[in-house]
Every structure is written in C-alpha cells, then in structure tokens.
C-alpha cells in the first residue's frame, strides 16, 4: 500500500498553508495592466513556498547511486491561487500568439514587425521575471516556464525574449546593485529598452582566456574605456542595454596584477557602440543577431556588475540560470505539432486506410507524446525545485533539461515533418520552419556537448569528494574496504534486489508505476557503482575522457528524466488528474526504453577502451583529421 506516498501528499498540503508576504508594484500600462491587476489579487509571496528543504542536489546524488526522493517527491505543485493567476496570463498570451503573430512572415522578412514587438511589450512579456517593484511581472520560475510554452510557438519571438531576459538582463537581476536595478530594470521590464548579452567573440566561445575585449580604467578612476568586438549577439541590433564581458586589470590578493574578466552594463547611449548588419540564419530568422563593436565606449564604474574582476562568476551564473525554460518551451512546441500532425494523419487516406491506422505512423505519435511528457515533467520539476526558498543550485538539473529537451525537440519536429511526407518539406507548411528553428536549441546556451561535460564533471566532482577516502583506502590495500567491495560486487552479480525506497512499502511512487520505479532504482544503484568504478580507474584524469563522460552524462540525464516522469505520474494518479492512465503508459514506455539504454551504456562504461570501441573511434577520427579528409579509396579505384 502506498502509505509513504500518501504521507508525502499530506505533507505537501501542510506546506502550502504557510503565510505569505506583500510587495510593492510600480506603474503599469496597456494590456499588462489587466494582467497585473488580475495578478495583484494574489499575494506574491505565496509562490515562494514549496516542499522539501534547502538542499538541492538530486542530480548530483545520483552519481553516488543515491535517490534523494524527498527532493523530487511529491512532484512540485503551485497553489490554486497561483494556478488561477497563471491561467489568467496564459489566455491573453495564447490569443496574442495565435492571432497577432504571423510566424511565416517573420521568418520570410527576417524581422519581427514593430507592432508584434509592441504587443509583446504591452503584455508585459519583456519583464516576466523582473520583480514587480521594478515594473515586471515578477513571475516565479514555474510560471515563467508556463508562459515559455506559449512563447515558443514562434522561435524568433522566443529567442528575442530569451536573449532579453534569460541572459540579457539577468546579470542586473542576479548580481546588480539596488541602484543598478532601480535605474535599468523598469525600462527593461516595460520593453522600452531591450537587453543583449555580449560574451562571444570571434576568437572566444567558451574560453575566457581568449576574450580580447578590454576595459581600461580612466585616470580619475571613475570610468572604464571599453574596446572590443562581440559576434553573434542576439538582439544586438535592437538592444539599448548590453551586458558586456571584457578583460580588466585586477590586483590579486598577493598584489600581482592580473587580467580578469569583468561584467559591465553598457548603454547604447554611452557612445561608441555600433553593430553590424543582421546575420542571415538558418532558423529563428526573425530574431536579430549581429556583431556589436565597442570603440572607446565610456562606462562609469557604477556600471560594473558584481565587482571588478568578478565577471567570470557572473557569466557562469547567468548562463546556468537561463537554461531550464527550454524544457517547457520545447514541450509547448511539440504539443502544438502533435495537434497539427494528428489532424493530417486522421484525415489523409491511403489504400482506403487512414494514415493514423498505420503502425509506423502511430509509433511517431507515441514518440512525440512520450518526449513531450518527459520534457514537460523535467521542466516543471526543475522549475519547482528552483522556486524553493533559499537559493537552490539547480544548474545540473537545468542543464539536463536543456540537453534532453533540445534533442527531443529536434527528433520530434523531424518525425512530425515525416508524418506529412513530402508536404512537410514544403514551405507552405510550417514544419520546415519548426525544423530550422529547433536546430538552434542544440547549439545555443551552451552546446549540448559542452553541457554534457558540465553535467558529468559536476557530478563526478561531487561524488569524487565523498568517495576519495574510500577509494584511497582500497588503493592503499585496506583489506576491510576491499572485501566490502568484493562482497558488494558478488551480490551484484548474484542478482541484487535494489531498494532505494521509491516503490514498495513506504514507497513514494504510486504502485501502478512499480515496474518503472524498480527499473529506476536499479539503474541508479548501478550508476553509482559505475561512477565509483570510473573514479577508481581514472581519478582526476577523467576530465580527458570525453567519450566516457558523455556516457555518464547520458545515463544521468535519463535517470533524471525517469525520476521526473515517475514523480509526475504518481501525483497525477493520486490526485486523479484527467487521463492519468495515459500518463502511466507514457511513463512506463519511457522508463522501459531508458532502462535498457542505460544498461547498455553502463556496460560500455565498465569496459576498457579497447572493448567499448573508444580506441577505434579515436583512431578513426585521428586518421581522418590528420589528412583533414575522408581517406578511403574510392570503391571504383583499382591497383592493377
């Protein structure tokens, strides 16, 4: 019986009854007035309350083979008031996007028409996460994710908004002083000013050492002179406020001078800011991407974000915090695609049968539904975790959501296009645009490769810190510890029953998800063992084993996805949401597939480079790259 599960639910209800605070609100105008008025009916602090404690290390704990069930069970909820509030936002925004936003035209003209931008501004969508005291909507992460679902219906708009607030003004929001906030946020929230994030340079993607832009302090020490060029800046041509990263000379603790990265708020009005013409892109064509040049731009000292020389941390925090919303955005897009393609599949007939009667077409819809479901579950679980009181660090979870959802979105869009066959390839239909737009998801905000490294290395670092003592004991030849490991491994071989408290008596997952829960538990346990094995084998040199790290990241992403799906489905069953049996099916399908994939990948992890093909893979790449070409002889080639 799901005793433990019900107890959790009771706990959840208790937490939600906690008191709330009030906030001041600034002036508002336009359509957002209605929204904000609706919103004002509810105390803002209510959304601060979530279950669980301050600790937030679910994803990292996975690397130890532990399941921190109290962090992910029960699935985070929002209060009825909040729900009502967000629904009042959702309505007008949805209406706006379906009626006012002409995605096809935006894509063709490579420009978002001013009236569309105006509409977005009046809806308050330029200040979704800016606190109400600065004139924003002050949405929690969860509510932001919810709106993201709708905004993503047009890739160009979504990217424009994300570049503005997910990264562009995020620096001011998370590290700015009160003066900076008061000065800049109101205009940014209303959309009067648009923000852009300027990090990438011609010679620098993720390497801080190759940033060439430089800010030199003036002699009076009151301002910096900024010089440098930035490339691929989203909103670069529209923005008035830039968050710019540049080298400054900083004095170290030991008195030596050293170049360090600093973050600046730069207004276009400071002068010396020019931008190139908008880049012609594959997708998200309506968003403005261009080069931005700074030439002797005078930036006052007050405009440094954080402290001088502290730009690296600011950049990392901005990048880490911006990613989680991609999950709900992708899910929103896929849900829309399912609707559109299902319409087609149920009406087109071939051989006197509807397209929807063919197994291979059905499979595609299942795939899309499963992906959308899991993405959504991950996105809202993560958003819920981030909304907990305190400043929980969910960067690993957010990265997992980003990787999973961007790849899922790409696959799903491609499958949706496939359902329509030749029609999907035509420009008359929106599928090719969705396909082009979704390709960027795998690239920006940290490419998926880079994020996999982040996920795996952060987890390994966390597990390594805890396991170092144990591993050292083994290496020293401590018989006791070695024996323990041997016994453990022997029990694994003999078919261990893993019980991490997810299912069964005192389990937190619903009994109808028992199979999936067991699979997750087993995967988590063996993943912990695999990580320990890797630490024993590679130690700190694991950094150089990217092929291994990629597998580690893949398994951990799957584990988090399984967790999110099980947690959400459990909640749905327990509170009797509509179609919760469908959710159970989706969860079971996903968990079973992921379970087998995980087992395969973990078997690869345990093997040595010669057996899991890593050696061969590297060798082929090396030979190809040495010649910088495909080196096989042509099949028609002869030697005599």
């Amino acid at each position: 019986a799901p005793d433990g599960f019900q107890r959790r639910q009771a706990e959840l209800c208790r937490f939600q009854a906690l008191p709330s605070g009030t906030v001041t609100r600034s002036d508002m105008s336009g359509l957002s007035l209605v929204l904000r008025a609706a919103r004002a009916a509810f105390p803002a602090g209510a959304r601060q309350l979530r279950t669980g404690g301050l600790r937030s290390a679910y994803a990292k704990e996975l690397f130890l083979g532990k399941l921190g069930k109290e962090e992910v069970f029960p699935y985070p909820e929002i209060s009825n008031e909040e729900l009502e509030e967000i629904n009042q936002f959702v309505g007008p925004v949805e209406k706006f996007f379906s009626e006012e936003v002409d995605s096809k035209r935006i894509d063709q003209d490579a420009k978002i028409p001013p009236e569309t931008l105006k509409g977005l501004k009046s809806l308050g969508l330029f200040g979704m996460q800016i606190p109400e005291e600065y004139g924003g909507l002050g949405l929690s992460n969860t509510m932001y994710a919810r709106l993201g679902e709708i905004i993503s219906l047009d890739g160009s708009v979504a990217v424009t908004l994300a570049a503005h607030q997910a990264i562009g003004l995020k620096g001011i929001l998370i590290a700015g002083t009160d003066e900076q906030k008061a000065k800049y946020l109101p205009k940014l929230a209303s959309g009067e000013h648009i923000a852009a994030f300027c990090l990438t340079e011609p010679g620098s993607g993720s390497d801080a050492a190759s940033i060439q832009s430089r800010a030199t302090m003036s002699e009076d020490g009151k301002s910096f002179l900024l010089n440098g060029s930035k490339v691929w800046i989203s909103n670069g041509g529209l923005a008035d406020i830039f968050t710019v990263f540049a080298r400054t000379e900083a004095v170290d603790n030991d008195g030596t001078k050293k170049d360090k990265i600093s973050a600046f708020i730069v207004e276009r009005a400071f002068g010396g800011v020019t931008n190139g013409k908008p880049e012609d892109k594959l997708g998200i064509r309506g968003s403005n991407t261009c080069e931005v040049h700074f030439e002797n731009t005078k930036v006052p000292v007050e405009n440094v974000i954080g402290e001088v020389g502290g730009g690296f941390k600011v950049a990392m925090n901005i990048l880490n915090s911006g990613r989680f919303s991609m999950g709900s955005a992708s899910a929103g897009m896929i849900k829309k695609l399912i609707e559109m393609t299902a319409e087609y599949a149920c009406t087109r007939k071939q051989f006197n049968k509807k397209l929807s009667d063919f197994g291979l077409i059905q499979e595609k819809f299942t795939l899309m539904a499963v992906k959308a479901y899991v993405m959504e579950s991950m996105a809202y679980l993560t958003a819920g975790m981030m909304d907990r009181p305190g400043v929980p660090d969910c960067s690993v979870e957010a990265a997992m959501v980003k990787v999973f959802s961007s790849e899922g979105a790409w696959i799903c869009v491609s499958e949706a296009l496939q359902v329509l066959g030749g029609l999907g390839y035509m420009k008359d239909y929106p599928y090719e645009r969705y396909l082009r737009d979704s390709r960027i998801l795998l690239i920006f905000e940290g490419t998926n490769e880079i994020l996999r490294m982040y996920i795996a290395l952060t987890g390994m670092q966390y597990a390594g810190k805890i396991l170092t003592g144990k591993i050292k004991e083994i290496k020293k030849g401590n018989v006791g510890v070695a024996l323990e490991i041997f016994v453990n491994q022997f029990r694994d071989i003999m078919g261990r029953k893993v019980d991490l408290g997810l299912v069964g008596k005192d389990g937190v997952a619903h009994p109808s998800l028992e199979e999936s829960g067991k699979k997750l538990e087993e995967n988590i346990y063996y993943f912990g063992a695999a990580v320990e094995g890797l630490l024993r084998r590679f130690g700190k040199t694991i950094v150089d084993e990217q092929l291994v790290l990629k597998r580690v990241a893949d398994v951990s992403i799957n584990l988090y996805a399984m967790t999110a799906a099980i947690s959400r489905a459990s909640r749905s069953i327990s509170i009797g949401l509509r179609n919760h049996d469908h959710e159970v099916l989706l969860t079971n399908i996903f968990c079973t597939e992921a379970y087998f994939k995980n087992n395969y990948v973990m078997a690869e992890i345990e093997k040595y480079a010669a057996e899991n093909l890593d050696d061969s893979i590297k060798k082929v790449a090396q030979q190809v790259l040495e010649k910088r070409a495909y080196i096989c002889s042509h099949p028609l080639e002869r030697t005599f």
Binding site: L199, S206, D207, A208, A209, K260, I261, F312, K313, A315, M316, L319, G446, I450, L451, M453, Y454, L457, T458, M460, Q461, G464, K465, T468, I471, K472, L535, R536, R537, F538, G539, K540, T541, I542, V543, Y608, A609, K627, R628, S633, T639, F640
Partner: protein, 432 residues
C-alpha cells in the same frame, strides 16, 4: 583466350608471310601457302617460330636497314656479341626508340631466335643505360623475343620436371628485374608468359606472385613521393618542407626567389632562393618564447627524397626549464564546465595506455627553411623575413649554429661523375 590466340595466329600468318619468306629465302614452307586455314597448319610439332601481335606491325615495314643488319648478322655467325647489337642500334641517343630498334633487329635477324636467352640477358643489363628500366612495354617487348609455344610442356613428365630450365630462368630474370624496379606486369605480360611457358610454369608462378604482392604494396607508403620530383628548386623545397612539417596548416613562404643579375659596377650578383615554412602552432610557440633566451638557426640537415638529397635549416629554441613548463590551469577559464577536477585521485594502472618511453627532451622548433646557399647572410635574410610575421624575433637574439655544408665533400664527386644537378644548388643534388 584460346580463340583469340588462334585468331591472332591466323592474322599474323597471313600478314607475316612475306617477312618469313624474306627471312628464310629459298626454304620451302608449304604450310604457309594456305593461310585461311592456319589453325590446321599449326601443329606444335613443327617447331616454327612466329612473331606475336606486338611485333607484327613493325615487322611489316620492310626496311632496308633491317636487311643490312640481317646480312651482317649472318656474316657474324651464330655467336653474336649482343652488346654490340645495342651499341649499333643507338646512333646518337640512348633512347627507348633505340632500344626497341635493337630488339627488333634481333628478332628480324633470325626466325629461330637463336641465342635469345643471351640476348634477353644482355637487354636486361642494357636497360638502365637506355633509361628504359621503368618501361613496362619494353619489358613486354623483351619477353616477346622468346619463341612462342615451344617451351610449353606437353605431357605430364615435362610438366613434372623443369622443362627448358634455362628459358624459364631467363623469364624469371625478366620478371625479377621488373620487380626490382617496381614495375607491375599487365595483361600483355601474362598473355606472353602463358604463350611462351604455359600455365603453371615457373615464370607464370612468378608473375602470379608479383600480382599478389604488388597491388598490396602499391600504397603501403603513407607519405608517397611524387614519381617525378620537380626540377625547380623552389618547388622541390616546397614539397620537402611540407613533408617534414607534416602539418596541413603550415604555411610556405618564399622569402626570396633565386636571381642572377649584373650590378651597375659590373659585378655579378647571385641571389639564392629562400623558402620557409611555419605553422600557426609554431608561430604561437615563438610568440610565447621568452625573448631573453636566444633562438638558434641550425643546419644543414639532410632529407632524402628518393635519390635526391636536399638540405634544410631549422630555427629552434632551447628546451624549457622545468619551472616554466608547468602550465597552471586557470579555474576561471571555461564558462561552461570545469577543466580540471579537484580530486586527489590518479589514474589507475589498467587505463594507463601510455608505453614507457625514454624521452629525450628537445627544444621547440619554430620554423624551417631551405635555401639556395647555406651561408649566414642568406639565412639571416630568412630570419628577417620571419620577423614580419613573428615580431618577437626582432627582440630575440638569434645564434647561427651552422655546420660546414656538404659542398666541399661533393665538389669533387660532382666534377668527376658529371651527374645532372639541380641548377645552382650544392644543397640539392641528384644522385643516380
């Protein structure tokens, strides 16, 4: 195959009748009268010699000289000094045409091809002299000298024992020489060998072995050298430098073209060529070089390209002292993921796939060049050119460690051997 052969035979017989008659005047050859049914007239027991397709055309041309040669040949008797045949054949140049002429002369002289083994051996010896040692069709022509079908074993006893061992050995010699020069036989060779020695004979076996190994070895060299090296020393330097650098991003710069000019004062000024190579990696290494430490120009070092030896110079630095070698990883380097883990665990022995290698420390090499002269003045011009792209070089002391070049050693041998040389280069000498 058989059909084709028969057809060929028939054609040759009808065409070559006149020549055969000419070759053996006064002999009654009744089997030649009815060319239309040549097959019937070709019992193997008649040990007649016939010429094959390869030769039939040339034989068809009635040549006055051929007659003359023939007469002389018969005057000399059966013991012909074959070397002389080649001497006589080349009137002036030793070329492929002359060589072919010699072979043709031999074939025309005697229908029975008496002494063909000796002739073939002489021909093989003479090939390099005529510069045809790498010509496949010449080898085929030599094989064509063998009388056809005579040495094909006709019963199991012949097949069991070494049938016509001298001829077979001679055939193998031809193939061996081809092997040594890396010439791959073709269909024609096979056809000839089958015609001469028959299936499963030793030369055919040799041929099969060649055809087994040669294709397999054809591309065994991962760094092939072009069959004909360029004559222009600048182009040659280009190829050589690219070969040593083994980096596709390395950039070749011609700092100076070779030039001979007469100055106003009437003095002759020669300006040797200077070709250098530098990769972006080397440029970066040099940019990080501490200008307080000198860099060295060293050389000349030899590089062999087949039979050509060229010499190159390097610009290198001293090995870094250990305290400067350790690169500290900046923790604030990567915006996205940590570049190193803060763990006190090392790699286990099972995943350590590096072999123990006793490494000899060498300093970094910053650039390489080849020049038309090895004196310090020329090389200084190279360094001057390098300064354009590597500004740090202008602040760095450059020390010239030049060994005496090979010019003194070779001066003597050059004059006596008189071998062809790449113009104005003691450093790039073609040796045969």
């Amino acid at each position: 195959m058989n059909c084709v052969r028969k057809l060929l035979l028939a054609r040759e017989l009808s065409a070559g009748r006149g020549i055969l008659r000419q070759a053996a005047p006064g002999r009654d050859l009744p089997w030649l009268q009815g060319s239309s049914c040549a097959q019937r007239f070709w019992p193997v027991s008649v040990r007649s010699i016939r010429s094959s397709a390869a030769l039939s055309r040339s034989e068809l041309i009635p040549s006055a000289r051929g007659d003359k040669e023939k007469d002389r040949g018969s005057r000399d008797g059966s013991l012909v000094p074959f070397d002389e045949l080649f001497e006589r054949a080349h009137e002036g140049d030793r070329t492929k045409a002359a060589f072919s002429r010699a072979v043709e002369l031999f074939c025309q002289r005697d229908i029975r091809r008496r002494g063909h083994v000796e002739f073939i051996k002489a021909a093989l010896r003479k090939m390099p002299e005529f510069g045809v040692e790498r010509e496949l069709d010449v080898y085929n022509k030599i094989l064509d000298v063998f009388p056809k079908e005579v040495f094909v074993p006709r019963n199991f006893i012949q097949r069991m024992f070494n049938h016509y061992p001298r001829q077979q050995e001679c055939g193998i010699h031809v193939l061996e020489q081809m092997e040594n020069y890396g010439i791959m036989p073709d269909k024609q060779t096979k056809f000839l060998l089958l015609q001469i020695f028959g299936k499963k004979s030793h030369p055919v076996r040799k041929y099969q072995r060649l055809m087994y190994w040669f294709p397999r070895f054809k591309h065994v060299n991962p760094y092939p050298i072009p069959a004909a090296l360029p004559r222009d020393p600048v182009d040659l330097a280009r190829i050589s430098l690219q070969r040593i650098a083994a980096d596709l991003s390395a950039k070749i710069t011609v700092y100076q073209m070779s030039l001979t000019d007469v100055s106003d004062a009437g003095k002759e000024i020669t300006q040797p060529h200077i070709v250098g190579i530098q990769s972006p990696d080397q440029q970066e290494l040099l940019a990080h070089h501490n200008p307080a430490r000198p860099v060295f120009v060293e050389g000349p070092f030899p590089l062999w390209l087949k039979k050509t030896c060229v010499y190159y110079y390097v610009l290198r630095g001293e090995p870094l002292p250990p305290e400067e070698k350790e690169e500290t990883i900046d923790s604030e380097r990567n915006f996205f993921y940590p570049l190193h883990l803060d763990l006190d665990l090392d790699r286990g022995p099972w995943d350590d796939e590096e072999f123990y290698v006793d490494e000899v420390e060498e300093g970094p090499i910053f650039a390489m060049c080849m020049a038309g002269a090895g004196d310090q003045a020329t090389l200084a011009k190279w360094i001057l050119g390098l300064q354009q792209t590597n500004p740090i070089l202008s602040q760095t002391p450059v020390v010239f460690h030049l060994k005496p070049g090979p010019q003194e050693l070779q001066a003597a041998s050059d004059s006596e051997s008189g071998e062809e040389e790449i113009p104005q280069s003691w450093h790039a000498k073609q040796e045969l």
